[in-house]
């Protein structure tokens, strides 16, 4: 992938947040940069910093506005960011590859054909390409434990819908802008519903309630609706038939 030609941008979020953005489009090196800067804040544990998170290409830092002001805080962060080249950072250690059984299309994922058409592909070709795309957890968000996965090929750079689909079920694999989202729970979405899994991203009843971490990778291999039914009958671990493999650095 080509290197991002963008320098970090600093913007305030509400009255107590700062967003450091490494690219204005999804780029692999910008995603790594965002993860690395967040890691740096977690390590430094500055007084007055309440919380950090990452999105696709940005790091978000929230402060306690009663202890510090953004006016004082922003220059400190700018100084820290200037100390190194974040685009060169490596991925976090301890990553995992998940292989997830997935029904593509059918009434369980009714927008596969429509998405394939927008991508200029037959449904069969779209399924083949999507199921062979090894994608990375770029960020977790929108709902608990829910990954944004990518990047997919440029042919899948299709826009979101203008109107929201009122509800897709938990385990839905949806697509837009060369990315997947694997839904943690039932929710409305502007993305197209192209696959259905029984993988539970968020397991509040378990000790380790979040299944994924940014940097993990996923592969979605095709199965039939009958096979998904069988998986659902024996899904007490929440993995939905998925296998888990450590990625050796």
């Amino acid at each position: 992938m080509t290197r991002t030609n963008h320098s970090p941008e600093f913007r305030t979020v509400g009255i107590d947040g700062l967003l450091v953005t490494f690219a204005d489009r999804m780029a692999e090196d910008a995603n790594r940069a965002a993860l690395a800067l967040r890691g740096e804040f977690e390590k430094r544990a500055w007084d007055g910093v309440e919380e950090t998170s990452t999105s696709l290409a940005s790091t978000y830092i929230r402060i306690d506005p009663t202890r510090s002001s953004l006016a004082e805080f922003v220059p400190r962060v700018q100084q820290l960011v200037r100390t190194r080249d974040w685009y060169d950072a490596s991925l976090p250690p301890g990553r995992v590859l998940w292989r997830v059984p997935t029904v593509f299309g059918t009434e369980l994922a009714p927008q596969l054909d429509e998405a394939a058409k927008i991508a200029g592909l037959t449904p069969g070709e779209a399924i083949k390409r999507l199921s062979q795309s090894r994608v990375r957890v770029l960020t977790i968000g929108f709902a608990p434990g829910q990954p944004y996965l990518g990047p997919l090929g440029a042919e899948f750079n299709i826009p979101r819908q203008k109107d929201l689909t009122p509800k897709v079920p938990a385990g839905a694999l949806v697509m837009a802008i060369s990315q997947f989202v694997l839904f943690a729970g039932p929710a409305p979405t502007g993305w197209r519903h192209i696959g259905q899994t029984a993988f539970r991203c968020f397991r509040p009843e378990m000790q380790n309630c979040f299944a994924l971490n940014p940097g993990d990778e996923m592969l979605f291999h095709p199965i039939t609706p009958d096979e998904l039914d069988q998986i659902r009958e024996n899904n007490s671990d929440g993995n939905g038939g998925a296998t888990r493999e450590e990625i050796v650095a």
């Binding site: 913007r11 305030t12 967003l19 978000y60 929230r62 009663t66 006016a71 968000g141 709902a143 509040p204």
Partner: protein, 332 residues
């Protein structure tokens, strides 16, 4: 045990100040939609605003005391009675063992709160008792549930004059990181527009309607998904704004035109359907000062609590609503 639930509205959940620190795993804060109400309840019962309370969306319920329990009622006023005798809202009361508390529909605003002395002692998940229905954390309160409370040393029989935040009005906003995606003309029109709260509203967010065209940002269907914070005003694909509330998603691709100040979010969440809402941009510096002053006000609430005087002339708003109902039927 403390209160036994005999009847309950469809959307009543246990809420505290919320669960901070899990944005990185996609879990938004949750917590009371009207955080001012939590502080008011705490002031009335002489306890910490971190105590959990029952948040009741639109409709209350019927509760029996399993032991003598101090309670307080705050937020959207509801018809309230103990064993059939009306009791005032924005006040604390002693509920004796076996007595029944009945709470009806909200007469103004959306979210009423029932506080128990010592706070509701439900299970803690990741540091908070707040239910987050969207995230599948906890569930709504049901008939037959028991609301346990920690022991309390406070007294009942106090009242507090609430600030009126149940009829919409002006919400102060700051520019946020995507405000610049909207051109100046669109921003001006946004600040001039009188919105109405739409029918679509819950703890995730509330839709706003207005006449005329929507509010679009440049290239907004292809914007990179970015962090969302509570109070963000998000424009959907049709250019209609949603104010995002405590159970909102943590990231999203629809652009945010501005962010409502935390101190004005109670007013936003309590705005009933069809009521008028306007937005006023303030600078980040002003917003910081306004929010700091609000925190000072909240901290002073315990000093504003007064003994409850059981004078008929002093029964607040609720009675006037019953009188209006009677007048309407008299003229039929």
């Amino acid at each position: 045990m403390s209160l036994i639930v005999h009847r309950i509205g469809p959307s009543c959940t246990i809420q505290d100040l919320g669960r901070n620190g899990f944005l990185s795993q996609g879990l938004s804060r949750s917590g009371a939609a009207d955080q001012i109400a939590l502080h008011e309840g705490a002031a009335l019962l002489g306890q910490s605003p971190a105590c959990a309370a029952l948040e009741m969306a639109g409709i209350g319920g019927e509760f029996e005391a399993g032991k003598d329990t101090q309670i307080a009622l705050t937020g959207a006023p509801m018809q309230a009675s103990i064993d059939g005798a009306a009791v005032p809202w924005n006040a604390s009361h002693l509920l004796l063992t076996g007595q029944r508390l009945t709470l009806g529909s909200a007469v103004r605003g959306n979210y009423g709160y029932l506080h128990l002395g010592g706070g509701i002692d439900s299970d803690v998940f990741l540091g908070s008792r707040s239910v987050h229905l969207t995230a599948n954390v906890g569930r709504a309160v049901q008939v037959g549930d028991i609301l346990p409370s920690a022991s309390s040393h406070g007294e009942a029989g106090f009242k507090l004059r609430p600030d009126d935040r149940f009829a919409g009005g002006e919400l102060r906003v700051v520019a946020s990181f995507q405000t610049a995606l909207f051109d100046q003309e669109t921003l001006n029109r946004f600040a001039r527009t009188e919105f109405r709260r739409g029918q679509r509203a819950n703890r995730m967010g509330m839709q706003l309607e207005s006449d005329g065209e929507g509010f679009a940002a440049a290239g907004q269907l292809n914007i990179l998904s970015e962090v969302i914070t509570i109070g963000d005003i998000q424009m959907t694909g049709t250019g209609r704004p949603f104010i995002l509330l405590p159970e909102c998603q943590t990231t999203g691709g629809y652009p945010r035109i501005a962010t409502v100040l935390p101190c004005d979010l109670s007013r936003a969440a309590q705005s009933p359907a069809d009521c008028a809402i306007r937005f006023k941009f303030v600078s980040l510096e002003e917003a910081t000062e306004i929010q700091a002053a609000h925190s000072v006000e909240l901290a002073r609430l315990p000093n504003r609590v007064e003994p409850l005087i059981r004078d008929p002339n002093d029964i607040p708003d609720l009675l006037s609503y019953q009188l209006i109902g009677g007048m309407v039927s008299a003229t039929d």
